[in-house]
Amino acid sequence: MGTTPLHCDTVVIGGGLAGIVATLELLSAGKRVVLLDRDSEENFGGLAKESFGGILVVGSDEQRRARIRDTPELALQDWLAFGEFDPADRDTWPRRWAEAYVNSSEGEIYRWLKKHGINFLPLPLWVERGDATRGNSVPRWHVVWGTGRGLMLQLIACLHNHPHRDLLTLHFGMRVDGLIENGRRIVGCRGDSEATNLPFEVRADSVLVATGGINGSIERVRRHWHADWRTPPQTILNGAHKFADGTVHDAVQAVGGNLTHLDRMWNYAAGVHHWRPRKPEHGLSLVPPRSALWLNWRGERIGPKPLVTGFDTRDLVTRICAEERQYSWQLLNRKIALKELAISGAEFNPSIRNNSKLGLLRDLIFGNHWLL
């Protein structure tokens, strides 16, 4: 980076979906931006680039075409129930953001993405229908054509083609570990190059932290393990981004920032080891086949209420963690596997990833032969 510290209007820390979206908008507003990412340029796009690419939208064209009647009021009721919000407590920041989301998803998220060249599969899917608590009352999970990989590649293309591209400086391989204060104002950030460990500094009028979660550090996951899940299992696979390790959370806390609800996590119950691991305990999340029998470590069917995916993902984790050995088996056969077995994420859904409509149709009718 050189010895002269960079200066700009905003330094964005993290090149995932949030960092890239913010940068696009800041460039449109004529702001000078330095975007720092810890990973190499080929991995630009963060965890979102590896995701399946589903987005919750209330009031989409796809819902209307499928004659799904959805409203922000209905979505909010589902959200508050499923998230176990205290209905009497209306003044928390999570509650305010939940309301903002359901009221703005169509205008601020869905329309904006479409304007940037993102399209969705015609049929919204119905996930997290709710079990002990109420979940989604209607299908409102919209899958991006091209998966999360397509989403990020398209937005990155928008970035490189932005009319104000000259206002943006991109730096890869940069690990931020501290924020720079001037009195009580944050005026920049500092860190080291991942490759060379040479220090760097960026000075700015404002800093935007978009560095992902803490779930990439299994040590932190264990430290913040929720009480509902008893003690952390012996094996916890890593399905998060290896750089989402809480380094910048610590930096924010060091300047007085408030960290909340770190014990709340969206972990999955059906992880398997990746056969080409890129990080320690690298795991893949399977979409657990609905027609498979879910058994505990002894081969007994977990019950009395059987585990079935699509209703309450968190509850699957809770029920498995309640067993003496905190892992499980799914029992199925070839016919079930062909129809239902899938790996969640962009890597393994070639038809959607390659925008192949015929390929997707073929897979749905004839089965996932390519996976088996």
Binding site: L17, A18, K335
Partner: protein
């Protein structure tokens, strides 16, 4: 994952995979036969899993990807398979507390001048917008919304 043409062979392989003899053949056999018997008897189903399969098959998006009451031990549907599954870490639902402009708040609830947070780092908004569970799709969506709100505040 282990594959076998008979249940005893499958259970042997399951035990081979996980290192001791904990997987009990009669438990697995009973689970599978009881389930298959329910399917044989037909609707209405006593089994909650079969009722849920019936329910999800009512939505066309799910029907394409859900078998129609498939027996486990049906020979023509074989071979049998068993997958060992672990808890896998994925997303943080909590994080840096932010206001609706994505400004980072201190422990007294006051914004810290010059500091913003968006995406998963901010718990997708407010340090935990989803509460205890996410409805799914609010993570990518939350990244877009919190980022746009941050940029809008910075552009003002």
């Amino acid at each position: 994952m282990v594959v076998a043409s008979s249940l005893p062979e499958l259970v042997d392989k399951m035990n081979g995979l996980q290192g001791d003899g904990s997987v009990n053949l009669s438990a697995v056999g009973e689970a599978a036969s009881a389930y298959d018997r329910q399917i044989e008897r037909g609707a209405p189903y006593d089994d909650e899993q079969l009722r849920r399969i019936a329910l999800v098959r009512q939505w066309k998006g799910d029907r394409l990807r859900t078998c129609k009451f498939q027996k486990i031990l049906e020979p023509k549907a074989g071979p049998l398979m068993a997958i060992r599954e672990f808890i896998i870490s994925r997303k943080s639902l909590g994080g840096i507390q932010t206001d609706l402009d994505s400004r980072v708040l201190d422990t007294r609830g006051e914004p810290i001048a010059g500091l913003y947070a968006a995406g998963e780092a901010a718990g997708f908004g407010g340090g935990g917008m989803n509460g205890l569970r996410g409805l799914e799709g609010t993570f990518l969506g939350g990244c877009v919304l919190t980022a746009r709100r941050a940029a809008a505040a910075l552009a003002r």
